[in-house]
Symmetry: C2
Subunit: 197 residues, 2 copies
């Protein structure tokens, strides 16, 4: 059954970007960079597999602007990395990327989730980030799975992975293993109000 999945890289201490909103700490980690030999055994090879199962994606405006900037997409729109329809949550007017299927949205996540599900069909919905947006999906009961790839890094501060209190009655560890220098942890989000399940 198609799932809504938050799949992200993180530091060990739960930050998805550092205090300068940078990912410099993430790139160059063993197994994490495509030009490194071990990349196919690291999370990037796995990430390609994950992406094959994704039929729709969404992200917050900070994440979107980070990609725009990092890939210099306004000059090189062909570098937009996703084939799937992508929803971007924003209250501002943001530039689109020519040729990319980008849909700007605001307001509650429920309507976007419904549109994503219709677009993705039997494939999964991927929430790219950030943490606040994922929190809104969690609050709405629309988050099925969390997959984090923890880089061997402490940041001590930055953008939080998921700024919510989610206790063990709501999360089930499905898997924990290494992939290169990353620790990959996979959790199922359990529905509320059930002590077992």
């Amino acid at each position: 059954m198609a799932k809504t999945i938050y799949n992200t890289a993180t530091s060990i201490d739960g930050f998805i970007a550092d205090a300068d909103n940078s990912l410099k700490w993430l790139f160059g980690v063993g197994g994490g960079h495509p030009e490194q030999e071990e990349a196919e055994e690291g999370p990037l090879g796995e990430f390609d597999e994950f992406m094959k199962g994704v039929g729709a994606i969404c992200m917050g405006s900070t994440t979107y602007e980070w990609i725009l900037d990092y890939e210099q997409l306004l000059e090189k729109p062909e570098k937009w990395p996703y084939e799937q329809p992508a929803w971007v949550f924003t209250h501002r007017d943001l530039p689109s990327v020519p040729g990319a299927d980008i849909r700007f949205a605001s307001g509650p996540v429920e309507a976007v989730h419904e549109a994503m599900a219709a677009a993705a069909g039997e494939k999964n919905r991927w929430i790219v980030g950030g943490g606040d947006l994922v929190g809104q999906f969690f609050d709405a009961g629309l988050l099925d799975e969390v997959v984090v790839s923890a880089a061997p890094v402490f940041l001590g501060g930055g953008a939080p992975l998921l700024p919510r209190q989610v206790l063990s009655d709501r999360l089930e560890l499905l898997e924990a293993r290494s992939a290169g220098q990353f620790a990959v942890l996979k959790y199922r989000v359990k529905p509320p109000g059930r002590s077992e399940g």
Copy 2:
């Protein structure tokens, strides 16, 4: 060779206690409570193994006061959980526990580390926490290993695991695996100023 190890439970998002300085979120996690059947396969069984290799421990005052309070040690001093000599870093006058080998210390960690190493001999030194104290050991180049057992919990705030920026040139993932509902991640702290090693 004897090592100085920070071994702790944490939330997925890197907090060792919640905003109320409580560990309620931690207890009762599958595999994490001694009265649960699977405890011996969880991190507690492993923790007993770890403790057999520990010859000296240290902790900050917040951690110490938490244990005092949680175990009601001033009424039940026999419940002090450690046989090893224990250093407690504090600038205040704190009560000791009758019959326990507790040594209060203040000032730089180097002198205490030396005393711990002398007491522990070929066994390891365990830094119980909190994060600030561990950070001081890291700053002084005296931290060899970090072992975190991540409970299936997001806290969204609380006492940080390690309030430092430690990048991947300083950390090597040795192991990532599940133990019951916990994800156990083990890192070697690499010496500074070497790109490989």
